[in-house]
Symmetry: C2
Subunit: 629 residues, 2 copies
């Protein structure tokens, strides 16, 4: 190994490093963003870089040829995960490989709750010990908590005890006791500090982590902060991260530390904005999908991903923050919301709580759209849930020009049914780079409405300069190369449509079967809640048109945003809500779609656009007839 | 600084080290024993060394002259704590400065108890998950614990959960659950391991730590191990160690780590003898005096030593072993026995439990003799306790030729009342080095019985070649220089007698006042128990003669040994005994002698030999009359 210098363009940043490393690893080590969705396994093909002078890098390997055309290779394109630096080098990161500012859904619907945090402060002025009153410090304190506040049998931990004698005497026996759940003294503060009390609610998403700094005195969210989930360096998706844990004994621990480190930095960031420190935070509540839930707790989540998909635990947990290395006072509690099943996690329980479908007699459908889409159907009587393997297509994966909802992504598409002309809108109104989930959904809906594709998702035989054929495969141009940042056309291909049919078919199947088993028809539904970052930006008509949602009046549909984190926040400030979460995890029934007798047939029917039984989509039928296709 | 070589004699051990350090510190760092009772503060004068060629050491300082005579200094004597090494050097450690093998009391009286450890094992073969039974691992396990063993609401910690999925599958869902207190799952073992279950009971003494490795299946003690308390390097006595904690922020933590490290090494030693590992130990019980109790828990004990002498806590504690860095499975519990007061610690509660004075209607006096002597008076109805500041005289401190009960210490003395000739016995039957506690007690008793000292402890005007006068101070020769290892006479001085009068007076005062307040006369006593290492070796008649014990029939006196550790062991194997310990800590009344109206007068009277009111010692009176003095 020797020291080499690499210059990354277009920023022109020069770094010095050891030779014989992969360029992707070097970039990661120096905080230089290069897209990678497979964690450096040469399977996503997203880490494209350009190296004009290739005399100082390893040769092109077969895996790269799966993703790069011959002409690209001759233009100097490489995959950063396959290219080893051997000497000084200039690396260009093209636009399509850059990580752009992502649209993040950090707020969500939140219902008012009875403000009753589990952690409370009690101010005390203790009588000083004398030779006639030799009660030990702990007993003196506990006696006062009982006589002044009626708190009985409060437990004291060794961590609190170790500091007890000095803190009691610091301000002359004037202290504030921090008590959790009326059962445990978790900290002592010198003097009267009862006016300051904070908690922190966290949603650990596969790709982002959102934190709410909450004032527990008034229940207000004072700061909202978020960060990319740093586990992403070990894989964009959960399966890649699980594989990573199987590669080395310490890797599970590493992933746990990464997520905890990210939460610690969120806490720091939020606290400094409000002018407090992490020692002021006296409880955490956590949601996340079951895999993130397990990673956070240091539990191997691999069995969640193998049939029969059982999690290690589903009930709510109270864990000491210090056991998880969360930066806080040592005895602070972390309440982890319960899960329902392997693919219906604590985040989905947060959705149920924050949408309130469990509180009302009215009938609701709740969908949190993601790589796995969680579906809940029911009301205060009972709720049935399922999980649909909708896949990552809505996040842009397996879509030729697919991308996440970052700057430059086409997010809205309209096709004039007469002229077949296309108008689109990008995030940040920048020149288009690709198409994000809501865009592709719009696009396919519009292709269908304009009669360019049929109800099986196949391109019709029509004359249109936008409908191209490449290597015998059809694709429809959404943005011409003259408009895009790469200079290439951005298209929706026949294969892209197939991917979206699979994804929406999976969701529709889950919704249809869950409603059927709960005894609902679509006319029974009073409310449809769409939760999650993706859902927040989709056009409800497009979603209905392609058959992702049932054909229900748009006014019944409500986009509720990041209800996972607002559910966690509600649990942070309310004992009642925690009881509700506990009951939900016990009572929500989970429907295993794979063993449902209707599953196969329903899935096949749901692949049609909008559905094989078109009579289930009367509104869509009417609209399409109106547009003459 | 430079590298220097020091040769320690008589072993001839050569070590290389940095210059400019104190020789005591160097010796400590290399594990070379030099006596030191003040922790290197030049106040005990015990770390005497001889350096013939003093060209490479710092000059004699004033503090050394407090302990060394001019002739000793000219012979090369120095104090190791005051002497800085500056170059190559030969250091001789004279006999009197060597730490010798100490007589340790590791066994004690133990009462039979109902065998019911708090930690139990349960073997389970779980049904495997299927798509029709998707209960999470934790719920599957808890369901089986409930249905097969009736255990409800068992708590699972994060540490156990993190290992749960893999251990359940290791032997195909055949596992053993380790449950603490029928409430918490603390570990899982693969397969059926119900035949192996161990616990560890510990007495943390100021000078030694004793551990019992106990088989929790049959309640047998399988190994007894002990070690010097390594805190001794920071002071022989508690006060010196407390001073040390005030010298640096991390020092308290250091003392805590030292004691925990010692326990870990005891565990390792005991386990390897039995062929198990520390992962087989599923509970610890701990006793110690209040300061040791606090040190072990990392609690600052300084307020115990300041009036009004309040401890941080007295109730029994359950602490996670891993929170204290005890080497064991992470969720293993440590039960710390309760204390009664600042100077009546958990070790004394162990004494009460193991002696059984709390179980019987008969009336008992229990005394654990030490630097602080704990006294208990009562029966199953109620017990009154006090602590007497008896000081370290019985351990040899402040006694001219005093020493601990190590090889070469005179432990028994007889004086012929006719000839005034002396016979003695040493520990190990080696040539005498000094006198230990039981020896000095014998000696003073014999001096009194032989009429050499009067009832005020003053030497009488008698003719005897053993009665010498040095600088106007009288002393009585026990061993002639020709018999001793140092070649010097070993004597009991007038000042030594005064020290012992103070010590025994303190104990008698405590015993007398506690008995009075409990409403007992000495004739009410059915039993007198003498606990502790020192007590085990004293002659009961000598103790009565000098008035340390009341004048009670010798057959009522029982030496019960190390009941602190046997009390801890009884708590380890018996839930009932733990309940008893809890009740004792709540119900034993503590009498603060200093505020008792009789204290001053009783203390003055108790200084007499045996007592000012000689009618309280009819037996002694008779014996003395018989010997004609």
């Amino acid at each position: 190994m020797k020291k080499i210098t690499i210059q990354f363009e277009p920023e022109g940043r020069r770094i010095e490093t050891d030779s014989e490393q992969k360029i992707l690893d070097i970039a990661e080590a120096f905080g230089i963003d290069i897209r990678s969705e497979c964690g450096g396994k040469a399977s996503c093909g997203k880490c494209r870089i350009i190296i004009q002078d290739q005399s100082n890098v390893s040769e092109v390997i077969g895996l790269e040829r799966n993703h790069l055309s011959e002409s690209e290779i001759s233009d100097g394109y490489r995959l950063a995960c396959c290219t080893i630096a051997k000497g000084n080098l200039v690396v260009e990161i093209p636009e399509e490989s850059r990580i752009r500012i992502r649209r993040i859904q950090i707020t969500g619907m939140e219902l008012p709750v009875k403000l009753e945090p589990l952690v409370k402060k009690f101010h005390l002025i203790l009588p000083k010990p004398t030779l006639y009153d030799i009660r030990p410090d702990a007993e003196r304190l506990l006696d006062a908590l009982e006589s002044e506040y009626g708190l009985k049998n409060i437990k004291l931990s060794q961590k609190v005890l170790s500091n007890l004698p000095s803190i009691l005497r610091e301000k002359n026996w004037d202290i504030t006791a921090v008590v959790w759940n009326n059962e445990k003294l978790i900290a002592l503060e010198s003097g009267d500090t009862t006016s300051t009390l904070y908690g922190f609610a966290v949603d650990i998403g596969t790709s982002k982590i959102v934190g709410y700094l909450v004032n527990l005195i008034n229940g207000e969210t004072e700061e909202i902060v978020y960060i990319e989930n740093p586990q992403i360096t070990h894989g964009e998706d959960i399966m890649t991260r699980i594989s990573y844990t199987l590669e080395g004994e310490k890797n599970l621990q590493r992933l746990q530390r990464l997520v905890v480190g990210a939460i610690n930095s969120l806490v720091k960031q939020a606290c400094s904005k409000v002018g407090i420190t992490n020692r002021n935070i006296y409880e955490f509540t956590i949601v996340g999908n079951t895999a993130m839930h397990h990673f956070f707790l240091g539990i191997q989540p691999k069995y969640v991903s193998y049939t029969p998909y059982v999690p290690a635990v589903k009930s709510p947990l109270n864990v000491r923050a210090s056991d998880l290395n969360l930066a806080s006072a040592p005895e602070v509690n972390v309440y982890v919301l319960p899960c329902v099943a392997g693919f219906v996690g604590a985040d989905a329980v947060g959705d149920v709580i924050a949408s309130g479908i469990c509180d009302s007699e009215e009938h609701s459908l709740l969908i949190d759209v993601g790589t796995n889409t969680e579906v809940f159907v029911g009301n205060s009587e009972s709720i049935l849930s399922c999980s649909c393997a909708s896949g990552p297509a809505f996040e842009g994966a397996h879509i030729k020009y697919g991308m996440k909802a970052v700057t430059g992504a086409i997010e809205k598409i309209k096709i004039n049914p007469e002229t077949l002309d296309v108008t689109y809108k990008t995030i940040g109104n920048e020149p288009p780079v690709g198409i994000c989930g809501s865009g592709i959904l719009d696009g396919i809906s519009e292709l269908f409405r304009a009669g360019i594709i049929n109800n099986r998702g196949r391109f019709n035989q029509i004359e249109c300069e936008r409908l191209k054929q490449q290597n015998g495969k059809k694709e429809f141009v959404i943005a011409w190369g003259s408009e895009t940042i790469t200079g290439k056309n951005i298209t929706i291909t026949q294969e892209d449509i197939g991917e979206i049919q699979l994804a929406k078919g999976a969701i529709h199947t889950g919704v249809a079967i869950t409603m059927r088993r709960r005894g609902y028809t679509k006319d029974d539904l009073d409310h449809v809640y769409i939760a999650g970052a993706f859902g927040y930006h989709i056009d409800p008509l497009s979603a209905k048109t392609i058959g992702m949602l049932p054909d229900i009046p748009t006014e019944k549909i409500k986009f509720v945003g990041n209800t996972a984190v607002t559910g966690a926040k509600m649990c942070l400030i309310s004992r009642e809500t925690r009881e509700k979460a506990y009951n939900l995890s016990k009572n929500i029934q989970y429907l295993e779609l794979a063993v449902d007798p209707d599953f196969q047939k329903e899935f096949v029917n749901s692949m049609y656009i909008p559905h094989k039984n078109i009579e289930e989509y009367p509104t869509i039928l009417k609209l399409r007839e109106k547009s003459g296709n």
